[in-house]
Symmetry: D2
Subunit: 365 residues, 4 copies
């Protein structure tokens, strides 16, 4: 049986990995069992790499494995750029096989897979979608999940086009989806989300065409959260759900906020993770929350419930993703009295336009 | 008896005063009776002046009064800088004397007063505090309010130091509170807030010293919202509360959110304004809300409930006031399903550090 | 004969039109003769409208003409967003017919024309190019210029797509060039620049296709500076050059800096305007400078002379146009000891990629 | 005799240390001889730490020394935040003792010293000044420089106050210079600059009082460039000058630009470093330039030569240091056709207010 543990830890800067180091040094975490780290880093985009390097170094020192080996073994999803009340932190997942009786209900399980290396001309295309779908299915198998309804969150990190990659494609006579980096990045994220949707049966393969990507917004996954990075060459998939072959003390849940003000959607995610409440979430139930991941979508639109916002038009519009994350962090944070919630921006086929996807991991025992 | 009407109207840009123009042209609003306009303008600081000029021009054309006369008669509080889900809009107050029977309960009343012109060396000092306190008391009399508990919100616009004003003080051998504009502005706002606190008996006059301003954070008002502008030479006070001599269809309420996550504080404001609900606010009660003014305080601190935020340290720290407004707008907006809420940043003696002050005006009939 | 006067005046804020008001009140400027105002305004985009409104009001009061009439008579080109050493100011052009002998050399002349109203689906297309070309030719005629080499600077203000305009096109079954506002705006500016190039014989009509706009960067004008605004519905052309039918005390010149470091290109513009110097520009020659307009192009590229810059990649990349303007203002400002230079960003067919176009107006007498 | 080598190398990101790695791997640079690295890093403040960590790791791997040992041996001055045409890069200094005849003229020499650890309450005080002065004198001795006129540039990295350090001081009953981090940081940098000025005889010890720091702007050094960092606990001094005991192929020079437009001040620095030119700097002389360090001061003032700028007032005022660096980089870059110039912001006693200090290292052989 698979036993997964979850540790949510604060960081005082992108390079502060001391909280995890302490847990390792105290014997609470076995560094060999760490299987994924998902961090909310402050600072700009470079701070993500700084943070990843800091984790690699620290775990390398404590395991005797090389940094390269650590980077290969432990997918690190660094979600950068914070604002408002967002509190920098990271969630560490550890995983091991144990000989234990079933808990009598499905429990937290993880599946982690990486696609083959994509060619630059494949980024943001149907090929990209199919490769991610294949990886998601393999991750479900690894997690011991056979019902798609038990998949609560799929984080995908995919590659971005760079000048060098465009050049590479050109040198082979191939065209990329767009030479505009922002457009190409959106399509890469969109294709990843559609890959999740396809694997989980949320959309049909017929509907997936190169043209539909970042164009037909009726296609989406309700559990996908995707981000793109220049450092990626393949797509890394971290699938989170509940499995009957898992004996973790934790359980995952999810819910969709149809727009950023939809509190009932947020509540449904906490209930799906096993919290019991009626109206306000009481302290004893809040205490069960292990971690919360939100895919924010407020930056998809320039209005909400008929009210115009300045999200996409004002002089700070370049930071709209940060504002989208800050507002959903604040709203959900107010429901649980805690702003150490991961928020990731990205509306490309990650839920309907303007929606927020909420995943919750909570103690079940 | 005083009859006050309240109109909350959307704007498509800082210069868009068409919604009010339409109400005037339709005969719904008598421009002679407009007594105050409080706007949430997008854009940067200059957009505030642009908006005020646009209102002056439009009302001047419709009343035949000069722009200068309009500027003198109608205090215009332009709260600039929006972010997140904040929706640009303005609230127009009109006021007239009517011969009507009491409503049997206290109703919305306004008092509007301006202090004498302050000398630059008085900005942010005890003198400033005393002058504002005097104006607040006079505004209470004008509003027909004799119980300080009936004062629900006091908006104060006070002067900022400028290079020319520092020079003026120097030329007369006088020192200003600070030659750092940010510090001086904070003290001006702080002194205004303490003036409100003093008038309402929230603090004693003994406690008010030059030294205490922006230093002793135990002194504060729970209903003051203050802002400073280079264009001001005196302090303008708009006092909002309930009076037995008022027959408005509206009622005001207020509440303190002890920190930005304190939903119970927000709920208390809506209840104080007469809304009836238990847990979630139902649609029929939401429909009664005429306008909401929040004084945001999240930018007072770099942490919340033990969680570190990047509010005061990240590369966007220069915009911390916008983030403070965006997060409280989102949180309270989610409670009422509407983000057309005014949020003003400023923590200087406006509630305890980190608190948010919520004022609500709702239909009573 | 046409007599053109040029006044470059400082402003202390977007609404400060006092310097021009003073010149009018002193009798130095006849407000009836003002034919164009080109301003470098600080603040954000809204400050442009604020400034234009302030000019309209002030001139309306001093001429007795309505604001609408002033807006129609005097094209106002407000170039927003300043940074670095850029100094907010405006250049006022006044024009009148006089009975005077020729100066024996060509002198400063202006031609001002507006195209017909463009349909949203025409923005950024070949139709747009042709309409601007026609207006430029008409402006040459008005200015009394028959040799294209005498045209030194053509400022064009053209319309931007808006949500409403896209909707309008759709409702008539028409497609716009792009539903991405940034792309559409670039194409509108690009089409305007190609219109100038076509009129001046810098490119052939064959080369102008819808597809070439913002794609074939080998097509460009060396004297066009274009900007787009949501408030525009047609293209306004202000053509500046020298004419034998003009008797102005001023003369115009221009030059191309092949990249932002190309000082020789800047020097050539000052020489073309009649300044005499060898190496450094001496004070007596600097004193002749009436105004300088630069079209900045540094934001076209992410490198210069083989050195990578962070212009297009860093967290401030959203403000790359401001940086492009700030650096060219500083470089040319250092050559003349004055930063009251107008810089406008925009590389779409306005010179070769990365070039800066410099126009200088100097006293000739 | 001391032989110093200088390598200026491009970086494609804060973590890109490949150019130096290549030089080490090729045998061009002996990693044991590296004595200082001064980098211009892009990204935000955290990128400085990321870059330093990347250098430490790379050099550690190539020397077999621990990262801690590398950090101790090689002072790394990471100047963060780029804009405009600034090109991320780093300058590596290596130093060794050689048995060689004098070059017949003074040549490039370095002195590197660190003060004792400062107590938080000492930051920004006269004690701080005296400690830096002592370190500067020791660095002169190490560099073999006995004439203060041979000191061309002194880079100082000093500590910043942090919340923890203020707490530490308080716990011992001590007060810090300011609990406002910005003010305290300015005083730390100012004290460091005054330390340089004192050591070089530019000011008298009498003039140095706690009160004078960041207040009496008549006190300054013409060669100091200081920056403060949260990671520092002592002051690191890198002194650059020319010595008769040095046999480097390079020579240093310096000059003061009295304001940002003062080209003659910039030219004087290049001449002081041995370049020969009259007016424009010809290509063969440009080829001799090894590296350029500028301390930018444009952000000290809100005007230049009587022209008001928006440097300190506009909505981007929070980034004024970046603009100050971008404009001086552009201006000096235009003089030498190269923007790979290091610019550091900081006006606190680093030259007169508004001045820019230019240091040049050029090939002498």
């Amino acid at each position: 049986m698979m036993d997964v543990q979850v540790f949510r830890l604060p960081m005082s800067g992108p390079d502060d990995v001391s909280a995890l180091a302490n847990l390792i040094d105290q014997g609470t975490v076995n560094p060999q069992e760490i299987c994924a780290i998902i961090a909310q880093t402050e600072g700009d985009g470079y701070a993500r790499g700084y943070s990843a390097l800091s984790f690699e170094l620290m775990i390398s020192e404590r395991t005797g494995l090389s940094r390269t080996e650590i980077a290969k073994r432990i997918p690190m999803l660094m979600i950068g750029l914070t604002g408002g009340l967002m509190s920098p932190h990271y969630t560490v997942f550890s995983r091991k096989q144990v000989d234990a009786p079933s808990k009598g209900e499905k429990r937290l399980a993880l599946g982690i897979k990486t696609t083959r290396v994509l060619l630059p001309e494949e980024y943001g295309t149907k090929t990209h979608v199919l490769l991610v779908a294949e990886a998601v299915k393999a991750a479900m198998v690894e997690a011991g999940i056979d019902d798609v309804n038990d998949v609560k969150c799929v984080e995908v990190k995919c590659p971005n086009l760079t000048a060098a990659r465009i050049q590479d494609a050109k040198s082979r006579g191939k065209a990329v989806v767009s030479t505009n980096f922002a457009d190409a990045g959106a399509k890469s994220k969109g294709a990843s989300a559609l890959g999740v949707a396809l694997a989980l049966g949320e959309i049909s393969e017929d509907a997936v065409t190169d043209q539909a990507i970042c164009s037909n917004w009726n296609l989406f996954s309700k559990v996908a959260s995707t981000s793109a990075g220049n450092e990626q060459v393949a797509c890394k998939v971290i699938l989170i759900g509940n499995s009957k072959t898992a004996v973790s003390a934790f359980k995952a849940g999810c819910g969709v906020m149809s727009d950023t003000l939809d509190l009932s959607g947020a509540f449904s995610a906490f209930k799906d993770a096993g919290l019991v409440f009626n109206g306000e979430i009481p302290q004893d139930q809040r205490d069960k929350i292990a971690t919360v991941f939100i895919n924010a979508g407020a930056d998809a639109l320039g209005s909400i419930r008929g009210r115009r916002t300045t999200m996409k038009s004002d002089y700070l519009a370049g930071y709209q993703g940060i504002f989208a994350k800050a507002v959903i962090n604040a709203i959900v944070g107010a429901l649980i009295g805690d702003t150490m919630i991961l928020a990731s921006a990205g509306y490309e086929h990650q839920g309907p336009l303007g929606a927020n996807l909420v995943a919750v991991i909570a103690k079940a025992d």
